[in-house]
Amino acid sequence: MRNLQYWRGVVLIGAISGLILVFWLSGQLSFYIHPRYNLFTVVMTSIAVVLSLMAVVISSKVRKKTMAPVLDHGDHGQDHNHDHDDNDGVEIPTNSLGRVAAVSAAVVSAIALVALVILPPATLSTVTVENRAINRASLGDIQGAFASAQSGEEATFLAFTVREWAGILRQTQDPAFYQGKPVDVVGFVVADRDNPGTFFVTRFVVSCCAVDAQPVGVPVYEPGFEQQFAPESWVRVVGEFVINPDPSSSHPLVLRPFEIIPTEQPRDPYLF
């Protein structure tokens, strides 16, 4: 018990820090946190790996020689005879329930560690899209995107992601505004439950970490898309915004695709 209690933390902190460094090297750290925190994360986890290795080299020796018995043999409850005769500062729970909890915590932590090792990092799925609703939150600098869209440069439009287009759609629903403005966006397919024949080409926008990921997307009108594209499959949609051919739809404008090309998940699946 004492050894488990003493060593569990250093194993967890060393291993998880090492895994975080692997995620960083493989470019998968952005599945979990915004890249602005990469430097801080890499520096701190490197410190943890070094301290963990130092711990296995010198700590057991230190532990044996550093701590004397507690001077105060005061009232510590029913386990009076168990721990304080060799108290070395390791925090051992003082009752059987506490010990069960401590072992359970170690087991759950170990399972989480194994999951981090064997399960590949994954981005969020449509479960989270449904939990958070598409385009409900702020879409960032809408005014900036709208001002750029008014300039009329084709290269500007082609650089827009679904976030900029969703922002511009929120700004104006005038079909004339979108004429001659090519759309070329990448995202994953989320069926629009309210409007048959329409799907959202969707990305998650992350401002801090995956916890705050907000789905943003633009509606694409493509009846029968379900037969061609599986939910959550990544696609590149090239097209133009037009008046919705489906008058019963809740979207006045939709993206009419010239082509929809199945594609790989981008290296950075989230927009930052």
Partner: protein
């Protein structure tokens, strides 16, 4: 006490075992590479992704907190942290609330730091004042909150004043307790009573030893707190919470629930909540930014390593009531 007898090869064996263990774990990760996790349903996969996101976002701050705790406990002169404090109890707690300006750690990093302060001789109520105030009254949190909101709608000011008031109120309340050490868990109380023996290790050895002890206490709590936070986030509809955003009282309640559930650190939470600023009233944003650094799922798991359950219920009750009052007041004024 027996003097330690260790073979000179033992440190090398330890290093070999440590590197081998790390190699196996990292090799396992690399070998599964880019495979997809088809074995899991989308729901369980998202629970894990969200839980690991909280874990990976928080862990560097925990490491920073443990490192600063080591500096405070082992490398700083004993009297330094006492010399700067006024004798008057209210003045002392007010100054302690500001220590975060020099120790810029978020709430999870502050748990090891506050534990270190108690070990160093701070009273329980003084260390609690530090623990509650420092995540908000620290330069990183102030800069990120200012980057996100500027001085709009009094959100930043409400956050700073609210954090200060709540920390000092709770510090004062718990200073009235007749047996303050009984607020701590027996295990932590006991570890504070450990005294060094005649054979003194070097400062480096003590630092590494403290790193092992603190990570042993905090890591399981952090992991379990992150897993629970991931589970609840998939279970509680964010959409429902957001729909409450325009009501002066319900928006505050909704944001407090959100802060409790998402469990991210104070140094980064302003960016988290920024996308909600257009749909929620300013007082509810302030409530999110005040409550989150003090009480959330992950933080309760971490605090439970140090404080008894009863103490945490008392802290939570006061913090929730104070935050709701401040948030509603800002909503009515702004």
């Amino acid at each position: 006490m027996q003097p330690a007898r260790t073979s000179p090869l033992r440190p090398l064996l330890g290093l070999f075992l440590g590197l081998a263990g790390l190699g196996i774990i990292l090799g396992g990760r690399v070998s599964t590479g880019d495979q997809t996790a088809d074995a899991l349903t989308d729901t369980s996969q998202d629970v894990l992704t969200l839980a690991f996101s909280v874990l990976i976002e928080s862990l560097p701050f925990i490491i920073l907190g443990i490192t600063l705790s080591i500096l405070v406990q082992i490398w700083l002169p004993d009297q330094l942290l006492f010399r700067i404090l006024p004798k008057n109890a209210f003045g002392r707690r007010a100054v302690i609330s500001m220590l975060g300006m020099f120790l810029p750690v978020c709430e999870c990093g502050n748990v090891p730091l506050a534990r270190g302060l108690v070990s160093k001789g701070y009273t329980v109520s003084d260390s609690m004042t530090f623990l509650l105030a420092a995540p908000i009254l620290n330069p990183v949190t102030i800069i990120t909150t200012h980057q996100a909101f500027g001085f709009d709608d009094g959100i930043l000011v409400a956050r700073l004043i609210g954090g200060f008031l709540i920390a000092n109120l709770l510090g004062w309340l718990f200073s009235l307790h007749p047996q303050p050490m009984s607020l701590l868990t027996p295990a932590f109380e006991k570890s504070c009573a450990v005294v060094p023996s005649g054979i003194q290790p070097t400062k480096v050895q003590r630092s590494v030893d403290l790193f092992v002890r603190e990570s042993s206490v905090l890591m399981p709590a952090l992991i379990i707190g992150s897993l629970v936070a991931g589970l609840i986030q998939v279970g509680v509809s964010r959409d429902t919470l957001v729909q409450l955003g325009s009501d002066p009282l319900w928006s505050v309640v909704a944001m407090m629930i959100l802060a409790f559930v998402i469990s991210i650190c104070a140094n980064v939470d302003a960016f988290f909540i920024l996308p909600f600023a257009t749909t929620f009233l300013p007082g509810s944003i302030a409530a999110f930014l005040i409550l989150g650094p003090i009480i959330d799922i992950k933080m309760l798991a971490l605090l439970r390593t140090t404080y008894r359950t009863g103490t945490l219920i008392q802290i939570s009750t006061v913090v929730v009531l104070m935050t709701a009052a401040i948030g509603t007041a800002v909503n009515l004024v702004a």
